[in-house]
């Protein structure tokens, strides 16, 4: 409902603004684009390393060298209609859950500036949950080949349809930006979709000389049909089943996300770090992630190193239904359900990683980056790898080598 209303509102603003044209040079239309051509090699042959959780395949099991993990193309049209009204549409083509590179709309909104410092947007936006969330797919604009997974994969739903407000205000030598949003979104995967509704978030960013401080808090209601059906089956097992279902059910519960970030960039070197925590009184549980990256700039070269860590702070196993209490075939059914529940609980990302890389800005708007990652997964954790084969052992160490050409135009 909220989504239909936001689209209607966006269309109304666009169609009504035509009458307001005044300033010369307006309307003004700009086209921009960005992209990455990248390859990745993983030494784990029995599962696929992926950069986004719901794609169909990646590097390791499916491909020795995968060009599908990081490659993407984004195209954007920015239309400024009046001094107050502008609109952005951004389409991204990248690997999807169905294996295709079918383009999808990442941004499509209309912005109204009440004053140069107070603006309102309606349509499709990306939540500013983390310091680099909104531009996480523009690899040219970030130091790494991909944002540290330990933080950026805490929350899978990224863009949303709704409204947001931004207020910028200077205080002394600082410039500040407060952003608030409300809406809902969904992410498709191979056998269904994950929906987020009633989601809201507040983020604040301060630039103070060479330093940046960031904080964000948000809540959302996550639901997935497949999970609802799974817990409906649990409910067939009487009171113990009801209790487990209400303990772990995702539907109707609120998930919260808190994150803090700092950056310091005097020019010849930089350091940035983030810490984030997601909490849900459900199967999704509580997780924490953090990273720190340090880089040094020598002419066109930027070598960098980073460390990161992710852990699940809630329980990752559950004794579940006591199968001995049920007659066959319910006993086998109970064991099957317990097995799936434990698999889901233990699937959270738990790992430590070290990243070493170098970026070469060899010409304006183009950079070549090589990156090595060593990921040490905690026992029992599969670290976000997909297409796990029977021979795959969770909790091992993997090494990744990635090479990417990033560009903007």
């Amino acid at each position: 409902m909220v989504r239909q209303a936001t689209w209607l509102c966006a269309i109304l603003i666009v169609t009504q603004s035509g009458a307001l044209l005044a300033d010369s040079g307006l309307p003004n239309l700009e086209f921009n684009g960005f992209g990455t051509l990248g390859v990745v090699r993983s030494d784990e042959r029995n599962a696929d390393f992926v950069a986004a959780p719901f794609v169909s395949e990646g590097a390791g099991y499916s491909h020795d060298w995968s060009a599908e993990v990081d490659s993407r193309l984004g195209l954007q049209a920015t239309l400024r209609m009046t001094p107050q009204i502008s609109s952005v549409v951004q389409v991204i083509s990248e690997k999807r859950h169905d294996g295709s590179f079918a383009p999808d709309i990442e941004w499509a909104n209309v912005q109204y500036d009440f004053t140069p410092n107070l603006s309102f947007r309606v349509g499709r936006m990306v939540q500013s949950s983390f310091m680099s969330s909104e531009h996480r797919k523009v690899n040219y604009a970030t130091p790494w080949i991909r944002p540290p997974q330990e933080v950026y994969r805490l929350l899978p739903v990224a863009n949303f349809d709704g409204v947001d407000v931004r207020y910028r205000y200077p205080v002394g030598k600082t410039s500040n930006e407060l952003q608030m949003n409300f809406g809902g979104g969904s992410v498709d995967y191979s056998t269904g979709s994950i929906d987020a509704s009633d989601s809201w978030g507040v983020s604040h960013r301060t630039h103070w000389g060479d330093a940046t401080l960031f904080a964000s808090y948000g809540e959302l209601k996550v639901s997935a049909d497949e999970l609802s059906q799974f817990f409906d089956v649990y409910r067939l097992f009487g009171l113990p089943g009801e209790q487990l279902a209400s303990r772990y059910e995702v539907d109707g519960k609120r998930t919260s996300l808190l994150s803090l970030g700092v950056g310091y960039d005097p020019g010849s070197w930089f350091v940035m770090g983030e810490w984030a925590r997601s909490s849900s009184p459900s199967l999704l549980g509580d997780s924490e992630g953090a990273y720190m990256t340090f880089g040094y700039r020598i002419a066109e070269w930027t070598p960098y190193v980073g460390v990161a860590r992710a852990k699940v702070t809630s329980n990752t196993s559950e004794s579940g239904l006591n199968a001995a209490l049920y007659p066959s075939p319910f006993a086998e059914g109970a064991q099957l359900l317990n097995g799936i529940l434990n698999e889901l609980l233990s699937s959270g990302m738990q790992q430590e990683s070290i990243t070493v890389g170098a970026r070469w800005d060899f010409r304006p708007g183009m950079a070549l980056t090589a990156q090595y990652d060593h990921i040490d997964m905690r026992s029992g954790s599969s670290g976000g790898l997909i297409n796990q084969q029977p021979e795959f052992t969770p909790g091992e160490r993997i090494n990744l080598f990635s090479l990417a050409l990033d560009f903007v135009f």
Partner: protein, 145 residues
């Protein structure tokens, strides 16, 4: 003859000595406005925020509009290196973050200092930077503090 040689040698020495302390013309970039404009001085952080699109500066009720030079010009590299501490590649990455999140486009870029001078003279709202050799009496140098 001997005197001329001494003079020549002295000037050579002076020139080479000076160049140790003084970085020549390519380094000289001035922040300027029209002599009619209300702006006389700016803090370094205001200048930086205006050029990076982080702040809208309003002086005497009029919005100050920054003008840029096209990428690859020496004065542009010098301006950003000196006043923001960032290389052209870093500035490019900064604008990629703004553009692809719908937060704005970089300042309008003109091809050379002469074009900036002409624009400033005809538009008192504009703020620009030029190679110092293009400075004339129709412009005012903005003090950056």
């Amino acid at each position: 003859m001997f005197k001329r040689f001494i003079a020549f040698a002295t000037s050579l020495l002076l020139a080479s000595g000076l160049s140790l302390f003084y970085h020549p013309a390519s380094a000289e970039v001035l922040v300027v406005v029209s002599a009619e404009a209300p702006v006389t001085r700016l803090t370094l952080s205001d200048l930086r925020d205006v050029y990076l699109g982080r702040r809208t500066l309003i002086v005497n009720g009029v919005e100050v509009v920054p003008l840029d030079l096209t990428e690859g010009t020496a004065a542009r590299s010098e301006f950003y290196t000196h006043y923001t501490g960032q290389t052209p590649a870093q500035i490019k990455a900064h604008w990629a973050r703004q553009i692809f999140t719908g937060r704005g486009q970089p300042p309008q870029a003109l091809t050379n200092s002469l074009a900036v001078v002409e624009r400033l003279v005809s538009d008192a709202k504009s703020l620009g930077y030029i190679d110092s050799s293009f400075l004339d009496e129709r412009l005012r140098v903005v003090t950056i503090e």
